[in-house]
Amino acid sequence: MNLPHAAILAAVLLCLPASHAQDESAGGPFADAIDIARSRVVKLYGSGFGREHGYGSGVLVSGDGRIVTTLSVLLESPAVRAVLPDGRRFPAEVIKRDEEAQIALLKIDAADLPYFELADSSELQPGDWLIAAANTFKIADGPEPISVSVGVFSGRTELSARRRTQDFTYRGEVLLTDLIVATPGSAGGALVDARGGFVGLIGKAVTSKRTNTWINYALPSERVAAFLNERSDVEDAAASEQPAAGDATRPDLGIVLFDIGGRERPAYVERVRPDSPAHVAGVRSNDLILSLDGDATETCERFQAVRDRLRVGREVAIVIKRGDDLRTLTLTVGGRER
């Protein structure tokens, strides 16, 4: 934090709820940040499924219509629509996915849009003001401005969460806030600082494994930037002018674990799919997987997390315990179309 103290205090002062200085026409200290956020967050619509909602939020990250959002059921619908803050509607196409972070990049055919430069969230200090802007509960329709709320940055933590009954794949650090953002439609929305800088992407609504309560968190802007900088299969394909291989593939070893739940869940293999990479490498039912690609896999979820990080086509080592034997096998990471 290199800013002089005076400047910080001034910023804090501006944001204080002042009773006498309430200028009704000015809209308060957050007006500019709110305007910035509202002009860069889009409403997304697709089809819902079961308890999954068919609406969500996305943030514009380029002037030519690139939108980052969270992975969700709505993106699976044949016609995903993005509604811009001015009410214009565009069909959106998924051009990149990150299964581990559960985020996706969409593209709409538009130009000259306002968009977020990804600010640095590492400067955030607990207590700093944050503004959330999202299509929460799809309250706003068409050109109506989306919902905003104001709160503070609470801190950072490693996420250990589940989504309903399933483990949530994201393992990295997240930003925590006192803003309530674990609400329907908020995922994919923006957390901005008091100047309107994008610091985090509101994540999918998940519950903490420790407390079983909803977690109000966002993926840090750095994580979003890293995702944007990765080249996707689709982009690679486009670059080499080869036909796209459809949607991105995700790493697949062909191993089905014996996962009965409970507190301790060691990664025992229930079965191995014929002709899968694991089958070729010699993994068998009842093997206990101790490590994968150098990372210990004490539990089923740990194994899944490590597996999901693997790059398709790479050779990796897998250490298994079979009976009293320890064996190191080598397998080639396969890909599975989604």
């Binding site: 009704e24 026409s25 007006a31 919902s147 709160g151 006192d178």
Partner: protein, 565 residues
């Protein structure tokens, strides 16, 4: 649609089965922010002196905020049903006489008896009586009794709100407050002009204020304050879905500017209905088009046509179906509304009155006529002290003299009319034809002397005259005609007197202007009368002789005489 749930009317037993612990944690989140700031402030004395001033400013602001809310809290009411089992909610007193607002769904359980209790921050319970109700807008007015003067909160202007500004909700979430001191929660405005569907025509939240402020069960009916302590809305609803019935940062308040139009009718103790144009719209490209028109509706009557492009309703630009729903749903039945349309490229302007949107509920709600008449006399008394001087005695009479002029005609002619009940000194009358003379007598009578209202008198719901909110007093005459006096809601000045029939409520309209003193009597001296057919004339008063001699016989108010027979 999502499952939106009314926030209020908490079941008392629900509160007893363990809702409290969750609730008590809520205010902590805002406090956390303040603590952070405070810690920040503490760290500052290490820095230069200039920051000391800033710190002092922070503390002064906080002090001011504390004082504003301490004052505002005195007007906040904890609303309870009369039997202590019907749950409760919150409310706010807006007038020193004890008039207050809460949600309809808060009092619904005791709407039969209209009696409940209101707890104030002085720790005492006061009897509460439900007056007018607006089930469509989820608002009712109540009156607290038992004190000469109640602390009350002023009403703000919800059209001036901005997204992001700080607001505070006060009330009794989870019915926590045993001593009736309200819970305060702070947040910002998250959205304006939100539309949230109701059920049937009930509890529709149109043009409402969306806040991040914690709104929990029990908050319903409580005030939303701006940072100057003005009421800008009545909290009544929140989005919960899958999250249990606790706040998730999305609360909705009925805007005070919507409520304002209903205030006269609420105070009169009436069952209020909302208005409808009887037309629907659809979005065609960027244009909002009239898509259907009901037979015999306001829209049809005034000449709206299918395919017209709707531009403005009641002075507000409408671009989407939600815009249209928002403006329509906040206007009362019979409300005058001006439409701006475009037809074949040409702009047109039409003015009509809205039809009633019938309430789809089985609720017989007859106004308490005694209360209604007390309010009616209150309106006349206030007008008498603010605008038009009247006689002391109930049989006060007056002789008016002046000039009458038809529109366009230069020459006026003199007129004299006697108004009153005592005929001994009745002068020769001249100059006004019988219709005019009759109307003049009827319209001046309650201005000259306090009437003794019978069942033909009623204080109606509010109306709008030249953009100003008015109280409306109606008197039905024997020949099926009715007269309506319209007094300004804020200044108590007489704005208009309208003669009509059941079929045509606006046959002739009298409008007073230019008050002056006549021998110490303040009275409007220039009147214009306009008929439905477009005839217009002006009546000028040159002198008023106020007479209240000893009556020869007991004064009898003769309806026949006043009705011009």
């Amino acid at each position: 649609m999502e499952s939106f749930v009314e926030a209020g009317c908490l079941e008392k037993n629900a509160a007893k089965t363990g809702e409290e612990p969750r609730a008590s944690a809520r205010p902590a989140r805002r406090i956390a922010a303040c603590v952070t700031l405070f810690a920040f402030a503490l760290a500052v004395p290490l820095v230069a002196d200039a920051d000391g001033d800033a710190l002092a400013a922070v503390r002064a602001d906080e002090q001011q905020r504390v004082e504003v809310f301490a004052q505002a809290a005195k007007a906040v009411v904890c609303v309870f049903a009369d039997d202590r089992r019907g749950g409760g909610g919150s409310g706010v007193v807006i007038d020193p006489a004890g008039y207050g607002l809460t949600n309809f769904h808060v009092v619904q359980s005791f709407i039969g008896t209209r009696r409940g209790y209101g707890g104030l921050s002085d720790g005492r319970l006061y009897p509460l009586k439900v007056l007018g109700i607006d089930p469509g807008g989820d608002i009712v007015m109540f009156k607290l009794e038992g004190k000469e003067r109640f602390d009350h909160a002023p009403l703000g202007d919800s059209d001036k709100l901005r997204v992001g500004q700080w607001v505070a909700a006060m009330g009794n979430p989870f019915l926590l407050a045993e001593d009736f001191t309200p819970t305060i929660t702070l947040g910002v405005i998250s959205g304006l002009r939100r539309y949230q569907e109701g059920r049937g025509n009930l509890l529709e939240y149109a043009d409402c204020i969306q806040v991040s402020t914690s709104i929990n069960p029990g908050n319903s009916g409580g005030p939303l304050f701006d940072m100057a302590g003005r009421v800008i809305g009545i909290n009544g609803r929140a989005s919960f879905e899958e999250r249990g019935r606790v706040n998730v940062g999305l609360g909705y308040a009925v805007s005070v500017n919507q409520i304002r139009r209903f205030l006269p009718g609420l105070r009169a103790g009436r069952l209020l209905e909302h208005g409808t144009l009887g037309a629907t719209v659809r979005l065609t490209g960027e244009r909002l088009i009239i898509g259907s028109i009901q037979e015999f509706s306001s829209a049809e009557r005034v000449g709206v046509e299918l395919g017209d492009e709707l531009l403005e309703v009641a002075g507000r630009r409408v671009r989407t179906p939600n815009d249209y729903n928002n403006i329509m749903a906040i206007l009362p039945a019979d409300w005058p509304v001006t439409l701006r349309l475009r037809r074949d490229g040409e702009p047109i302007e039409l003015t009509t009155r809205l039809e009633r949107l019938p309430l789809r509920m089985s609720l017989q709600y007859v106004p308490d006529i005694e209360h209604n008449h007390a309010e009616l006399l209150g309106v006349l008394d206030r007008a008498a002290s603010a605008d038009i001087t009247r006689g002391e005695e109930p049989w006060a009479s007056a002789i008016f003299q002046g000039q009458v002029r038809s529109a366009g005609a230069g020459e006026g002619r003199a007129w004299t009319v006697f108004v009153g009940t005592y005929r001994a000194t009745e002068p020769d009358e001249n100059g006004l034809d019988p219709t005019l003379r009759d109307e003049w007598r009827v319209l001046t009578r309650p201005l000259l002397a306090r009437p003794e209202p019978d069942l033909r008198w009623e204080l109606l719901a509010g109306d709008e005259v030249d953009g100003r909110l008015v109280n409306v007093i109606e008197r039905r005459l024997d020949d099926d005609r009715r007269v309506r006096w319209k007094f300004d809601w804020r200044t108590d000045e007489l704005r208009q007197v309208v003669f009509g029939t059941a079929d045509d409520p606006e046959v002739a309209t009298w409008t007073p202007a230019n008050r002056k003193e006549f021998d110490g009597l303040r009275w409007p001296f220039k009147w214009s009368r306009r008929t439905r057919t477009g005839d217009e004339l002006t009546l000028e008063i040159e002198s008023i002789e106020f007479v209240s001699p000893e009556p020869l016989a007991a004064p009898v108010e003769s309806a026949a005489e006043e009705d011009g027979q």
